[in-house]
Amino acid sequence: MRNLMLPLVAALLVSSAGAALAQTAAAPAAAAVSDPVADKAALKAREKQLREWRSQYGEGPYPNEIDAFLQDKPDRLKPYWRALFVGGERNSVLNFERLGLAAIESGDWSVAEKAFDAALLRIETVYGKNAQAEAARSLFRKESNKDYKGEPYERAMAYYYRGLLYLRRNDYDNARASFKGGEFQDTVSEAEEFKSDFAALNFLIGWSSKCAGDNAEPDFAAAAAAQPGLVAPPANHNILLIAELGHGPAKAQDGAQKEKVVFVPATGFPEAKAMFMLAPEKGERITVEPMQASSVFFQATTRGGRAMDGILNGKANWKTGTQAVGNTAMMTGLALMNNSSGYGNSASAGAAIAIGGALFSAFSSTMKADADIRYWDTLPDNIVIGTAAAKMRFKATAAFAGSDGPVDLAPREVTPFAGEKCTLVWTRSRPIEGMEDTPGDDLKVRASLARDKKLAEKNRLFRASLADFVTIASKD
């Protein structure tokens, strides 16, 4: 029944979106002959309709609410704001991260800072007794019922971007704290042999310490140990150059019961190197080829398994086992019925066994071992880092190359963030093009949770809090 409801909800949302568009188009004409009584009646009718939808399909949000929320948002960030608003609290970490990164690219610094703060606040929240966490462990509910926090590599990247934003503000202490937070996430591993090897974060901890005037040698040494070639910068270097190349991995389900998460590397980007050209106001141009620091795909695939994998494996084994028992019982029962020519005790026993088998199969089909594959779709694949020295303002551009030579990407002009002691130059080889919805979200789970009154209330509060978030973020 619920499966039948989903297309209905989708159709309803599409049709109401059309209605919203039609309302928008008709608005100028209606404004000319505005009738307060008719307007009030229309508003009441609309509210009644929304109440009915809510009682039937859940809290929403419905298209007119989404449109109203997006009205004052810049076009470049609209897809991310939309995903955040629609995705609700359960997907908020992911959508705050995506919004924050898009805001970095577009130079909406305050939004970026607040978005990553909001994401990290939730990442750092410890889930003690939480109904959704319990649901995610339940044999009969999917893992994606849980609030998303991301895999350790995704969490580490959230700390990485927050750290860069602190560096931009010359707040080297908090930049260092952020990078350390990212490095700590990288130590989350089931297996003892997988320890922190996120060289970019080690290097950036060192760089923050250097800029703060502290001893940075141990952190640069840790970076070089994790990534040979990523050596400490000369003492006089005051410019940090970071280029992010390609696209990060996607997640997919694997295994007989979709219980495994596999990381699928992105393809279609040949760039493996970057080159920065710095043109100071006076003097010669400086060319810097940054060093390979970290691969996000490598970070995703070398953590050695999750504790959650054990739970999902257990669920999958149960499901497979009960399915096999059910199928065998059904086959045996049917065979007995066939062999007993339809009468007598054997036929009755066969029927009973077949019914028992069918019940077992039905029981098995209610078990949900599906792994959660929500993922941060706008991450890069590679991070390369370089340093340089300059005493005056400069203009920076970046070009990219693959193993077969230069890649046909327009050189990107980069705005340096000149600090008191250090300057940050950050760029990406490819512009951020994120999805309009939460990547990898299970729409069935979302539709099911939309009908949960407690979660609906939580989402209502979350959406209300976004208004405050926008106000605070716009003050900077």
């Binding site: 410890v126 889930y127 130590t187 989350v188 089931e190 504790a307």
Partner: protein, 209 residues
């Protein structure tokens, strides 16, 4: 008797169907909490109660020092958030520490210590210039030859060590905060606070490990 049995079975089934954990409350309007208490949300890092606690300790320490709190001339001290180095893994606004400390010290010392603001020195210099150019009058307290010089600077350092047990998922963070009063003429450390140490551990749900 048969009906009683059915009722008992039904009641047992109902009891078993109850969720194992009480459902969270639907929401809660803002409530006043004691800033010295643990609060409804706490983590492994420095919290407001720690900031108040460590400021309180330092105030008590300094007020018991006759060479500082009972000097013939009240010493002048600089205390600013920018000189509290946060080398820990917790993102923190160190102004919270310096503001709390300065506020408590200023109020408790009642004139026995004086505090200078270097953060606002540009405003001071601009106002002095206006007075000397005759753009404004001299104010009510008159003019001085130069802004006040400082005798001491109170500096601090926050450090941390994180640990994790990947078998149990437990995370532990040890944080240490130390303040020092530096003589700005001789560079001597005339006071060092007892290290304020917190060690806290937590464990996230297995679904996030």
């Amino acid at each position: 008797m048969h009906k009683l049995r059915i009722a008992a079975v039904a009641l047992t089934c109902l009891a078993m169907a109850q969720p194992a954990v009480a459902a969270p409350k639907r929401g809660q309007p803002a409530v006043e909490l004691d800033p010295n208490s643990v609060g409804t949300v706490s983590g492994t890092g420095i919290e407001m109660r720690d900031i108040i606690g460590m400021a309180d300790r330092i105030v008590r320490d300094l007020l018991q020092r006759p060479d500082i709190a009972n000097a013939p001339k009240p010493p002048r001290i600089i205390l600013e958030g920018s000189r509290i180095a946060n080398k820990s893994s917790q993102r923190l606004d160190t102004d919270m520490l310096s503001d709390q400390l300065r506020s408590q010290l200023l109020r408790a010392a009642a004139g026995r210590m004086r505090f200078l603001s270097r953060e606002n020195i540009q405003d001071v210099m601009a106002e002095r210039e206006l007075k000397r150019e005759g753009q404004t009058d001299v104010g009510t307290s008159g003019m001085t030859r130069a802004p006040a010089g400082a005798d001491y600077r109170l500096v601090g350092r926050i450090t941390s060590q994180d640990a994790r047990n990947n078998t149990t998922g437990a995370q532990q963070r040890a944080m240490q905060v130390v303040f020092e009063l530096i003589d700005l003429e001789t560079s001597e450390t005339v006071y060092i606070s007892e290290p304020y140490v917190i060690v806290r551990a937590q464990r996230d749900d297995v679904i996030y490990r």
